[in-house]
């Protein structure tokens, strides 16, 4: 009763918030972009893994390890270059993607805004070292995760200003009737284009005069907040927030526009560090989230699915059977809506805090080097034990995930038992059962 009042009150506020966040055009474009770049990040993860051969010395006799190390050494340039233009060129892909989706939102032909965004990005993110007739040298370091902020800035500003100028007919000169319509259209397009490209050029000139690039400048200024975004308190906050959304049965898509850049950006930085043979600096990455924090989907329900499989309650065993396989692939909707966990007071604490617990333990394990940090990602549907291994190439990560699954089960168990007892009671009184069990 008390709980119902609170949840009703919360739901009245949280649902409109979710709606608002997920309809916000920029957040939406960012979210759709992060969903679309998966093939690139996935393909780009392969060379990073191939290059991550375990160290060998003259005592190593394992033929496979020796061959792998040899392969990684011989092909170092190829592997680095492939990852450099895929996974590590993430910001460029994001810049193009956001421009595309934002144009789609405005029903604007996306070609020119996408081209301009790309040019603006290259102009302000790449750092020319030597330009001449041949042997041109350009530093591309910042087009990895460190360039995400500027990628978003450029694509959004480009499309917004382009759209605004088109709406207000800036540059549309009225031509005599004898002039073909397409020519008039060309002029209407040319002026906004010149304005935008001039804008980038001015920015380049300003930052070049300061002996830096725009991306490096912004990154240095914002570095402290980037550092803060990769901390345990922030990780806990975001995990709890996402799970509160899910407790109300709301997809965290509403938050993806914020989570995506942080998680993928950090991953891309780790991948770049891995390729360069540097120690990895980031923890809060996409694979950290999908393979370690939410094991079996939001709510870390894989362990719960195992418990429910053999439940004495018919409803729970049915949901367990329906939900186990999807949960193995990170899809938790059957359990969230079928059990239901959603708005279920019995499961409030384990639902929110099991994933939080996973997040804290993993974070600390990675921080203190007990488990390797992540540097590659596969789709979120990859089962956690496999995904955790491939993203870290550390067998201890698999052990950690398996231990976490057991601990998740222990945390869910008492609450599961209470709920099961209630349901079994209701199921033995057939007339009452159907209505009450959802309460």
């Amino acid at each position: 009763m008390h709980f119902d009042a609170i949840t009703t009150y919360m739901e009245r506020h949280i649902t409109p918030l979710a709606a608002k966040l997920s309809k916000q055009r920029h957040l939406r474009a960012i979210r759709d972009t992060f969903m679309s770049i998966l093939p690139i990040t996935l393909f780009g993860s392969i060379p990073v893994i191939l290059a991550a051969a375990p160290p060998v010395d003259k005592h190593t006799t394992n033929g496979f390890l020796l061959a792998w190390a040899g392969f990684a050494k011989t092909n170092a340039m190829t592997l680095t270059w492939i990852s450099a233009v895929t996974l590590n060129a993430m910001s460029l892909a994001i810049c193009i993607g956001v421009a595309y989706y934002l144009c789609k939102h405005y029903n604007e032909n996306p070609l020119h805004p996408m081209l301009f965004s790309t040019i603006g990005f290259l102009m302000l993110v790449l750092d020319p070292q030597k330009l001449g007739w041949e042997g041109n040298i350009v530093d591309i370091s910042y087009w990895d995760g460190r360039g995400i902020i500027i990628a978003l800035l450029i694509s959004i500003l480009t499309v917004e200003s382009y759209h605004w100028m088109r709406q207000h007919n800036i540059g549309r000169i009225s031509m005599p009737d004898s002039v073909p319509a397409s020519l008039s259209e060309t002029f209407a397009m040319l002026v906004p284009s010149m304005v935008i490209l001039t804008g980038y050029t001015l920015l380049f000139i300003i930052f070049h005069a300061m002996n830096t690039t725009m991306v490096a400048f912004i990154y240095t200024v914002l570095a402290p907040s980037f550092k803060a975004a990769d901390s345990l308190p922030i990780a806990i906050l975001l995990i709890v927030l996402v799970h509160v959304f899910w407790f109300f049965g709301l997809h965290d898509a509403a938050l993806a526009g914020i989570l995506g850049p942080i998680r993928d950006g950090n991953l891309s930085i780790n991948a770049a560090e891995k390729m360069a043979g540097q120690p990895l600096s980031r923890i809060f990455t996409t694979p950290y989230w999908t393979y370690f924090v939410i094991i079996g989907g939001s709510g870390s329900v894989l362990a719960l699915a195992f418990l429910m499989m053999r439940s004495r309650s018919k409803q729970l065993s049915t949901v367990g059977k329906v939900g186990l396989i999807p949960s193995f692939f990170g899809i938790s909707e059957p359990l969230i809506f079928g059990t239901p966990l959603m708005l279920n007071p019995v499961f409030f604490f384990p639902f929110i805090f099991t994933s939080t617990f996973n997040g804290i333990v993993t974070y600390l394990c990675m921080q203190f080097g007990i488990v390797g940090k992540t540097f590659a990602v596969f789709s979120w549907q990859m089962p956690a034990p496999i995904g955790s291994f491939l993203s870290t190439m550390d067998w201890r990560a698999v052990v950690l995930v398996l231990i976490l699954i057991v601990l998740d089960g222990i945390m869910y168990y008492p609450f599961f038992k209470v709920y099961e007892r209630n349901l079994v009671k209701l199921e033995t009184i057939p007339d009452d059962g159907t209505n009450k069990e959802t309460k």
Binding site: T15, P16, A18, A19, S22, K23, R31, D32, M35, S36, Y101, W246, G249, L250, H251, A253, A254, T318, V319, V322, G323, P326, I331, E333, P334, L335, I336, F337, G338, T339, P340, M342, Q381, T438
Partner: protein
């Protein structure tokens, strides 16, 4: 043949459900699942849109954009992946 579109965030969990509804209908209706980011490209010939409960807050938005009948799937049926029950709801809504 009636054409039903299911929409969820990534088209994953509705993908599982689409098969079950299709089977429950004995292939008398067509059911396809799409991600929320892409559904607008596939609206041709769709008779009814069903939105998964976790993105129910987007139902109004989808109705406004698609000019189609949009319903939210009941959470319990969704969780149980109750193809038969949802097929019945579809029949009640638009007829077999």
């Amino acid at each position: 043949m009636k054409n039903i579109m299911l929409i969820c965030n990534a088209g994953m969990s509705t993908g599982i459900l689409a098969k079950k509804i299709q089977a429950a209908s004995n292939d008398t209706i067509k059911v396809h699942a799409y991600a929320e980011a892409e559904y607008e490209d596939y609206l041709d010939g769709v008779d009814l849109i069903l939105v998964s409960p976790q993105i129910r807050f987007l139902a109004d938005d989808i109705a406004a954009k698609s000019h189609k009948t949009v319903k939210t799937i009941a959470p319990q049926k969704y969780g149980m992946m109750d193809g038969k029950g949802i097929y019945q709801d579809i029949v009640n809504e638009i007829g077999g």
